[in-house]
Amino acid sequence: MDAFAPLATFALYGLMLGILATAVVTVTVRNLFHAAIFLAFTLLGVAILYFFLHADFIAAIQILLYVGAIMTLVIFAIMLTSRMSDPSVPQSNRQRIPALVVTGIVGVFLILAILKTPWIVSGTLQTTNAVALGKALMGQFVLPFEVISLVLLVALIGAIVTARSDQ
């Protein structure tokens, strides 16, 4: 597999570029529906990235939950709120330039910090599988797991109550 490694590395960088590109389109494109489509591509790209990082289960969850569920919600929200998309309405506010400058400065700081920090890298790359993950969820993290279930339930009920019409 060593012979194959450069190819995989190349593919990984390509994938990263692709994700960034779709993400940039997502935040800049005028048509919000197109933004949602590109978000779906971004999320799928992230899922593939997880496959590269040997997090298979997370990748599947990413597709199932983000692409399958959250995207559906977003698209529905767009459909229910947009007035069949009038393209003459500006989709971004007047702080594009300041925002670009400020996020750029933040990015410079972050990248400098990342490059300066001496990262401690352990010798072997860690992997895990769904069984170990399940044991961790039901063992070490059982309380957060239960709490998060409760949060989800509360959020669902809250969403239903908030969104339904008063009649």
Binding site: M1, A3, F4, P6, L7, N31, F33, H34, I37, A40, L44, D56, F57, A59, A60, I61, I63, L64, V67, G68, A69, M71, T72, I75, F76, M79, N129, A130, V131
Partner: protein
Amino acid sequence: MQQIDQIFVNAKHAILDLASGFLPEWVVIVISILVSVTAIAIFGPVTMMYLTLLERKAIGRIQNRYGPNRVGKWGLLQPIADGIKMLTKEDIVPQSADKFAHFLAPVVIVIPALLIFAVIPFGRGMTAVDLSIGLLFFLALSSTTTIWIFVAAWGSRNKFSLLGGMRSVAQMISYEIPMVLSVVPVLLVVGSFSTVSIVDAQAGGNWFIFTPWGIVGFLLFFLTGVAEVNRTPFDLPEGESEIVAGFHTEYSGMKFALFYMAEFMSAFTISAIVATAYLGGWQGPWLPSWLWLMIKAYFLILVMMWFRGTFPRFRVDQLMGFAWKFLLPLALLNIFAAGVWIELDAPINYLVAGAIVAVSIVILYWANKPDMPKKRTYRYAYE
């Protein structure tokens, strides 16, 4: 026997042996990947083409007709004729359509359908990728179809398309939950998502369908699968008598063919995965392993066609009620039954699990009774 069983595997090895003679190692790896990909990329569309023929034939026989029989012997060349027609047809894009979305949806929707072929164990040693999360991969990918159907519907700028798309989303989201839950018993018993190990766990005739939870799980999985690919009696998103053709009303030519292809390939993959999860996959005596999987998958496809030939369409409220009030609780109780089945000893567990699922079905049937369609009474309008 061994030869026939492993014929495809051996063919791949032969190609690789040939290649490794004079090519660098990484090229061989690429070729190895390409061989699998090519095999699937050919197998998927060809399957789809002949499924259309098979469906038309089967429905024809059910309706006391012959079905296509003019092009070639028994109409065998009909799919090719259809393909040529589709390719040469004019590709119409409505003027007010969102052209980007309209173009994108049919192209992308085929991808998950094709990708799922990667985890199907076609025979002994004939799995393209033995992912450790095989079954979850299937579930995740088949759920992405929803978005592209909706994108197609939205992009068409057509009321009927949008209605069909919304119906499709509502239906798929609802049926996905019992679908995911219906395979949980298999995962409980096998202890792995991998499709290969699921098939291995059913070796020696111990197909999961022969257990009490297995038969319920099989029915749940198959029914929700039929709903996921929008086939009769769950074909509300494209119900032609109500909303023209649903989300693909505004599509013609090759784009329409791509939707068709995605649907038929999904139908095949669903059948193959159901066969893998509950009918023992390629396990079976006498015949080669790949033939066994084909027999099982095609049997399930024929059942789907039989459904289409006989069942009327659901009403929307019935469709939702069936998913949330019957399939979902039954799937949960079935997981419980499977848990009991695992915990108890051999002869008793069949009885106890059987009792649990039988009682659950009876109670659910009976709790849903008020919502079931009663004998219709006709009222005539006089005024």
